[in-house]
């Protein structure tokens, strides 16, 4: 249904990350996610570097939809990027 892959960089403790995941599930959108705070050591550092490429402020959720980057649980922007 949706062509663009969706990836969420999130924290396990972040309310707006949870809301974003719930929103995507409610819209029946498949997504991949990583809770950065649950990672450790080198893996965590590497992911943080990745996020900074998309979002220099390194804040959560950082949502990647195709070539679009959305920072925060912004319903309208997410819908626009998904084309729904």
């Amino acid at each position: 249904m949706f062509d663009n892959p969706v990836k969420i960089y999130s924290l396990s403790t972040c309310s707006h990350c949870k809301s974003s995941k719930k929103f995507l599930s409610d819209c029946a959108v498949m997504y991949d996610f990583v809770d950065v705070d649950l990672l450790e050591g080198e893996e965590r550092r590497a992911i943080l570097e990745d996020i900074k490429k998309f979002n220099p402020k390194c804040s959560f959720p950082t949502i990647i939809i195709g070539d679009k980057v959305i920072v925060g649980f912004k319903e309208k922007e997410i819908k626009d990027a998904l084309g729904i």
Partner: protein
């Protein structure tokens, strides 16, 4: 005090009705009343203002059915007289006219006379002061309004003298004119139709519905421009004399400064706003409007330079100004502002606190002079007597050298320093003001700043002790929920900023007092006023708004989740009882408040006391984020839209609502701290947050499993937050985006900035 509203005055028509009659009143009032020293009905009231009139020969009624029924049965118009216990001109009129048996006789013969304390019943006051403003272009207190038996206002004014003065009708002449007109069928018809017309005008003004236009962020710049135009660049303040403190304006200016700093604005309007706010606060604090010895602010300045005030001290002014000075201190780190805040908070703890913790309402301007005067036995109360000084008194208390230093610093003159004294109250007297800076005084006496500061400190203490022996002004010791809410906020913030535990203790005791004496938790009914064991009057929207604000601020100081839970309970009740679902905004009174009220008023502007609606929006925006409740966000947005669309042309009329606009658009930080409040690491995180000026931020503390589960009921993610590296940890989110949690105060400062 005067308030101006934009109406087309309908005064000329009404005056014509009276003057076409001349004065020819019958002899029926010549029987002198004999109740000179007998109490009237007001003796059964608890309001200090009503009790001040309990021994008048006027046959006063309180606002109650018996009066309205009598007015209808006897077909007599009502004289509604409104004031408050620390109002100077109310005392003057009481003494000159209401104590005069002849004048009382005219009132008793032709009118049903009702007294109302505006602090108990701001709803009645709002309706009828708006009517008088519509009639005459301005209004204030004492407010005297003539009503039909259906409670429709047809004429009114403020103070009237007992005998005619140039251009001012005397009170007895006015009474006779109205009484005569009422008895003439054709004139009475005109009075009744004037009552209808006036009621229609004020209903349109006070009980509006409005279209919800789009919210334009330019409102903020337009308001700032208006304030810049009104600003007195030389003396501070936002009006010519008389100059009132304007806490809501300073609130807005500081919030605007924050907005400018945190948005893409390239100009220096933020700095302009900050300068206007700070300059005004500094000018007030060195003026006579500030009690240089005892702390706290008087009501307003009669001159443009903040020197000679009306001396009453009101709880609501001091609560709001205390917050202003704390904000100025946070932004500038100038200890001058911190000291004024501290002295003002100390004044409230010392002089304005009930033994059980509630805060009193006000202190009067007038008091009996300690010095009986040249002929002895001078017992008449005089304005400011408690606060002013003759040079010889200063010399006697301090001794020659310290007196010289003190007199130079505080602007004393041997012949008195009051330039304009129309009533002769201040002959030879001095109103203290900081005439010179510490540097100037040190230079003048060739001493170090420290030595001078120490001398002045000792002198102030001695004079404060000497002053304590003088007869005190009357204390209005009724306890109002709304004003206590304002002070609970201010003292909670004072604790955060000044780190003095006494302020937190005082705020907590006041909240406990209100809960115990003015709230019924079974019915969730909040009351407005408590005095001497009696609680009375159903809470109005302002009682809810200001108490909720106080509880949220108190939560952010002591982190007892019970504060938030009570605030949420009150918020739900406030929406249920006061919110206008159709048009947005909050009514002042609940639906079943008082069947005699001719309309349910909605305020759309912030006066000296902010409107309940503005503060409700600020509360809703904070509670939305404490609970993630979308209904609150909707009510906030709808109220914001409805009021802003009404005040488009004058956005500066609701400064507190504009702060809500700022916080709703900037989306300030939400911080959850996990840590033990008694440990240094948590304290250090809290201290970091409290040292930053961030209007609208919210802060929560999770320090044990009980608070965790209580807070997680509203925000489920709180179940998961935990300490990192076994250190106190701050979780920061802004605008639906979260940062990685931090444990380091420096990193936290960076996140919040």
């Amino acid at each position: 005090m005067f308030t101006k509203l934009n109406f087309i005055s309908i005064l000329p028509a009404v005056i014509l009705i009276f003057y076409s009659l001349g004065i020819s009143i019958a002899a029926e009032e010549n029987k002198m009343t004999e109740n000179k020293n007998k109490p009237n009905r007001l003796i059964h009231e608890k309001s200090p203002y009503l009790l001040q009139h309990a021994y008048n020969p006027v046959d006063w009624f309180p606002w109650e059915n018996e009066a309205f029924e009598k007015s209808q049965a006897e077909n007599k118009p009502i004289l509604l007289s409104i004031g408050y216990s620390t109002c100077h001109w109310c005392h003057v009129m009481e003494e000159e006219s209401f104590m005069d048996p002849n004048i009382a006789n005219i009132m008793n013969t032709h009118f049903i006379c009702i007294k109302v304390d505006r602090e108990e019943r701001p709803d009645i006051d709002k309706i009828y002061i708006t009517a008088v403003s519509a009639l005459t272009g301005s209004a204030g207190w004492p407010l005297n309004v003539f009503l039909t038996p259906e409670l429709k206002p047809f004429y009114g004014g403020t103070y009237f003298p007992p005998v005619a003065k140039s251009g001012i009708l005397s009170w007895p002449d006015l009474l006779k004119l109205i009484a005569t007109a009422w008895k003439d069928p054709s004139k009475k018809e005109k009075l009744l139709s004037s009552g209808q017309e006036l009621s229609r005008i004020i209903t349109n003004h006070l009980s509006w519905s409005s279209s919800h236009g789009p919210i334009d962020i330019n409102f903020l710049d337009n308001a700032l421009n208006n304030f810049s135009t009104r600003f007195d660049q030389n003396l501070g303040g936002f009006s010519p004399s008389p100059k009132f403190p304007s806490p809501s304006i300073q609130n807005f200016l500081f919030a605007y400064y924050f907005y400018a700093k945190n948005s893409d604005k390239q100009d220096d309007t933020g700095e302009t706003a900050l300068k206007m706010g700070n300059f005004t606060l500094r000018a007030m604090a060195i003026g006579g409007i500030y009690d240089q010895l005892g702390g706290g602010f008087h009501r307003y300045s009669t001159d443009a330079k903040w020197h000679v005030p009306h001396f009453e001290k009101m709880l609501y002014d001091n609560a709001q100004l205390l917050r202003n000075y704390l904000d100025a201190f946070l932004i500038t780190r100038d200890i001058f502002f911190g000291n004024i805040a501290r002295e003002t908070a100390d004044y409230v703890l010392r002089d304005m606190t009930h033994p059980d913790g509630g805060f009193y309402s006000a202190e009067d301007a007038d008091s009996t002079p300690a010095d009986p005067g040249p002929n002895g036995g001078h017992k008449k109360k005089i304005e400011g007597a408690f606060y002013v000084w003759e040079q010889k008194e200063i010399d006697a208390v301090l001794g020659p050298e310290p007196a010289k230093i003190f007199s130079y610093h505080y602007g004393l003159q041997p012949e008195g320093n009051v330039e304009y004294d129309p009533h002769g109250d201040f002959k030879g007297k001095n109103v203290l003001f900081a005439a010179h800076s510490l540097d100037e005084t040190a230079d003048k006496f060739s001493r170090s700043n420290n030595t001078i500061a120490q001398t002045l400190k000792e002198s102030k203490l001695k004079l404060l002790q000497a002053r304590a022996a003088r007869p005190r002004p009357h204390l209005d010791d009724k306890i109002l929920t709304s004003w206590n809410g304002l002070m609970i906020s201010a003292l909670s913030r004072a604790y955060q900023v000044l780190e003095d535990e006494r302020y937190l203790i005082a705020a907590r005791r006041a909240a406990k007092f209100i809960r115990k004496n003015l709230y019924d938790s079974a019915t969730k009914l909040l009351h407005r006023r408590w005095r001497k064991g009696e609680r009375k009057i159903a809470g109005m929207a302002s009682d809810y708004s200001f108490l909720i604000q106080g509880l949220i601020d108190l939560y952010e100081a002591d982190f007892d989740p019970g504060r938030l839970e009570w605030a949420l309970e009150l918020m739900d009740e406030q929406i249920k009882l006061f919110y206008d679902k159709e048009n947005g905004g909050f009514f002042m009174t609940r639906k079943d408040h008082d069947k005699n009220i001719i309309m349910r008023v909605k305020e759309d502007s912030d006066s000296v006391i902010p409107s309940a609606g503005s503060v409700a929006v600020l509360n809703l925006l904070r509670l939305t984020r404490f609970t993630d409740t979308t209904e609150y966000a909707k009510v906030a947005e709808s109220t914001l839209k409805s009021i802003l669309s009404r005040i488009k042309a004058q956005p500066d009329s609701a400064p507190n609502l504009l702060i809500a606009l700022i916080t709703s658009r900037l989306k300030p930080a939400e911080v959850v701290i996990v840590g033990d409040r008694n440990k240094e690491d948590t304290r250090s995180i809290l201290k970091t947050i409290n040292s930053l000026f961030i209007p609208g931020k919210i802060v929560m503390l999770v320090d044990n499993n009980t608070t965790r589960s209580r807070l997680a009921r509203y925000l489920p993610f709180i179940e998961a937050v935990k300490k990192m590296d076994n250190r106190a940890t701050a979780y920061v989110c802004t605008d639906k985006t979260c940062k990685q949690p931090v444990t380091d105060p420096v990193a936290l400062t960076e996140l919040l900035n």
